[in-house]
């Protein structure tokens, strides 16, 4: 038998989202959210771009000082990017120069203009971990490191020792549901079902393609109306089989949400910002269009999840990552422009995550293998950009930050610190952060500062 959950209760007993919120509050699951955050003009959105497969951070941000680049070129060998290709950046708080991958051409000016920051060597950590502690088993570490499925799951749940079905985006939505939640889900994934979006209270929309797709073939004739009524009636039956109920719930919600979203989007106008015609570009365009009609949806807080795949570059990495980062750069830039066009560049923060980074030492097929800590980008006018946050790893095989001998960097900043900084900006009280990020209490610094 399935465990009966609060969410089931909410789904089956509540008729309105308001009732849902009230019921949720009665469970005392919801923490306090920053006071006075409900002003009519108040709006904030978080947009997660997940890079599936494990983006090679080592070629995303490269040391650019003479000694640093020489060390990089020596170890990375056939994976090393040419120094003359790289795009220089100067992190404000650091004395040495760095560079971005040459395909991050649109990100470079955003970084230099203070709209983009990098959070370096961030990854899943239970607690601060040194190489010696890791090798000698002296600290708890996340289970199943270097495994795609587990590390994707952990990056999305911040639960590092279990196989939870609730994401940190979902828990964040749960926290704000009572104050900011409305009739429409706070959380929208345009990359299909992803655990990041699943909450205990908050129900997400998870679409792949058109989130306003509706059932076709109904003309409005009496026969068709009877048929449509029958279709909808069948979705309400308690068949006694849990999986049938689940499928029916998904379909019912989809029909309802698509109608609501379509009605809201009809109030928007076409964006003049052009997006790349890639899957990621399409998803971010949809996010921008939804943000544009935020008033119609009545939501002062929204969380979005979009993704791209193909980052698992075990071979032919140079050409493959080239295409992927070019797309990412163009998509991020277009999305930033769209937020400016809509008038919310200060109110939207976009951030990247990936399974993990990749080995510094190349493999024998011109690629790299699964590693651990990596660099991520954060974008928006609220971001204290043009700088690095966290400690850049020592790029030495078997060095102080290497979990092995191949350059698998032990994160120097934890996912929990990264997520908590975003959540704090979003409006969650400091006291509530540990219930979203279970290992945050193991780290002294709770706010990395990239959002002021």
């Amino acid at each position: 038998m399935p465990r009966f959950t609060r969410r089931d209760f909410l789904k089956t007993t509540c008729c309105t989202a308001a009732a849902g919120a009230a019921a949720a509050a009665s469970f005392n699951r919801l923490g306090m959210v920053s006071a006075l955050a409900q002003a009519a003009s108040d709006y904030k959105a978080l947009v997660c771009i997940f890079l599936f497969g494990g983006n090679d951070a080592n070629n995303t941000i490269v040391p650019f000082d003479t000694a640093g680049y020489a060390n990089y070129a020596n170890i990375r060998a056939n994976l090393a990017l040419g120094q003359d290709q790289l795009l220089p950046i100067q992190p404000a708080s650091l004395g040495t120069p760095f560079a971005l991958h040459h395909r991050l051409a649109e990100v470079q000016p955003l970084f230099s203009g203070g709209k983009v920051a990098a959070v370096v060597n961030v990854g899943t950590l239970v607690q601060p971990t040194t190489r010696d502690q890791y090798l000698n088993g002296q600290v708890n570490v996340p289970v199943n490191l270097f495994s795609h499925s587990d590390q994707q799951q952990q990056m999305q749940t911040a639960a590092l020792n279990t196989f939870g079905s609730v994401g940190w985006g979902g828990r964040l939505a749960d926290k704000i549901q009572a104050i900011y939640g409305g009739a429409f889900p706070v959380l929208i994934s345009l990359a299909g079902v992803n655990v990041f979006a699943e909450g205990l209270v908050a129900r997400p929309i998870e679409a792949s393609g058109d989130p306003t797709l509706s059932v076709s073939g109904f003309s409005g004739s009496a026969e068709d109306n009877a048929r449509l009524a029958a279709l909808q009636s069948l979705l309400t039956f308690d068949t006694g089989l849990s999986l049938i109920q689940t499928a029916s719930g998904t379909t019912s919600n989809a029909i309802h949400d698509a109608q609501t979203l379509a009605a809201a989007l009809a109030q928007g106008s076409a964006l003049s910002t052009k997006f790349p015609k890639s899957p990621l570009g399409g998803q971010l365009r949809q996010v921008a269009q939804i943000i544009q009609v935020r008033a119609a949806l009545g939501l002062p807080r929204q969380i979005f999840f979009v993704s791209n795949g193909g980052f698992d570059t075990h071979s032919a990495q140079l050409t493959r990552q080239d295409k992927l980062l070019r797309d990412l750069s163009q998509c991020m830039s277009a999305f930033y422009q769209a937020t400016a066009e809509i008038g919310v560049p200060q109110q939207v923060v976009t951030f990247t995550m990936s399974d993990f980074s990749r080995t510094y030492l190349p493999d024998s097929t011109a690629g790299s293998d699964h590693a651990w800590g990596g660099h991520n980008l954060v974008m928006g006018d609220s971001v204290a950009g043009g700088d690095f946050y966290g400690k850049f790893p020592t790029l030495a095989l078997g060095g102080p930050d290497d979990a092995t001998q191949e350059g698998r960097w032990i994160p120097t900043t934890s996912l929990d610190q990264y997520g908590a900084t975003l959540a704090k900006w979003f409006g969650v009280q400091a006291a509530d952060l540990p219930s979203i990020f279970p290992n945050l209490s193991n780290f002294t610094v709770k706010n990395l500062g990239f959002l002021g």
Binding site: P2, R6, R7, F52, A77, V143, H148, S149, S165, V166, S189, G192, V193, V195, I205, E206, A207, S208, L213, S214, V215, S216, G217, E223, A226, R227, A229, A230, L231, S233, L234, F237, T239, G240, L241, S242, L243, I244, T246, A247, S248, T251, A254, I255, D257, G309, G310, H314, S315, L361, P362, D363, S364, T365, G367, D369, H370, A403, T404, E406
Partner: protein, 527 residues
Amino acid sequence: MTRKSIRAQASSLRILTVGLTLLAFTGSSVMAGSAEPKAPTVSAAVAARFLEQASWGPTATTIAQVQANDLPTYLQQQFSAPVSTYVTPGPGNDISFIQKQFFVNAMQGQDQLRQRVSFALSEIIVVSAGQITDPTAFSLWMNMMQNDAFGNYFTLLKDVTLSPTMGLYLNMGNNNGCTLRCRPNENYGREILQLFSIGLMQLNLDGTPQLDNNGNTIPTYGQDTISGFGRVFTGWSYPAIPGGKPAHFFSKPYFSGPMLPYQKHYSKSSKTLLNGTVLPPNGDIQADLDAALQNIFNHPNVGPFIGKQLIQKLVTSNPSPDYVSRVAQVFNDNGSGVRGDLKAVITAILLDPEARRGDDPAQVQASDGHLREPLLHMIASMRAVNATTNGVGLSVYAAAMRQEPFKAPSVFNFYPPNFQIPNTSLLGPEFQILNSTTTISRINFINDLIYGTVGSGTTTDISAYVAAAGNVNSLLNMVSANMLHGQMSSDMRSTLSTALSAIPDNTRRAKAALYLVASSSQFQVEH
């Protein structure tokens, strides 16, 4: 709706398409595995439900085939049915050539069990045209999967390992045993363990994870083992291209025939394998490969790990530990001392009391069944309306439902076996690709199938349903028999009755019945 009323409903059904009589349930399930000589005649309902699990969907013809004997005999017939092979593409063909054959074979192949099982295996051991563009890689791959589907799992593992298709997909091809500023690629070494054989955690025979004294799961391997297998899988390259250069290391990908060994490019280092086994330095490339594959194959996880996934694909997302254990025991020993006998494993899965308990509606458990994945939903629906197809146009629909054939997004398949339905303790692998868009896409495919067209080469024949449609009850009996193994619930029947009675035209009435059932969750979740 109580179970009792489902049973009453089932008992009230009488006449079925092509004159088959549905035997009323007596309350005791039909034990198909029984060796009793006078086993009860298989009812049409039991046959239909069995075929939901053992084929791409029951048809009047296959229901009759099962009923002609019994379930074990049907399995034996299927084991020896001629294989629907994939034709090698010619120049100018792309992956759509293979995709069309997939639909044709699944729709019209007489080797339905092989089609279903080899597809299931191809979702456990995954290659993808997302990365490999030559369609020949996939015709050869699928012919291999189909040949090995009823063989031994070790043979399958070895064939997969030396397949140029896999060699290209997970980089074993031209993986050089270099050491200077370089190291062997770990991709195949990691995924053969994590996905194709043993998984990440030590398992009990019943598929549940073993726990240490602190209640934590126990990893099956560490990074040293991954590096070790990375080194084992070095030194192999592609067969020679006919008319081109002789085969050599660093050959370009060519897919016909197994990959070839090059001792000179085989890693000279020692290799840490599973369970503390270490292959000494300077081993022989072929002997080491066999030893390493035996090391994997003989790991106690393989039976429960692979067995449970096959159960999930064919029968239920949430098998009991006892069910997994029974299947794993057969994997470990088919009764004649042979490990890895897939025929025995498939038989054990399909004839297990837990697979068969739903033959008696009163015995159905709340967690039973599994969501038909998009391809299975599409094809079962098409078979129910007696469709014939040349496969044209169908992949577009499947893509919208996130299951374009041979285009899994990664080696992790279209969906993972351990996907947990949010906020429940239930697994529902196929639900990972049921989202607010795909759930509507599924319904809209049914709309096109019934009311429009799903491709220039697909035709349906619903004349039997139209002939029965003069009487709403007869129509519903037929639809229930073919699509819900005669177990349409009384409230579903009553709702459909109301809607259908408002439609005077027999063709439109039959279409409405087929549309509403094929799009329903009751049909989409096989149970």
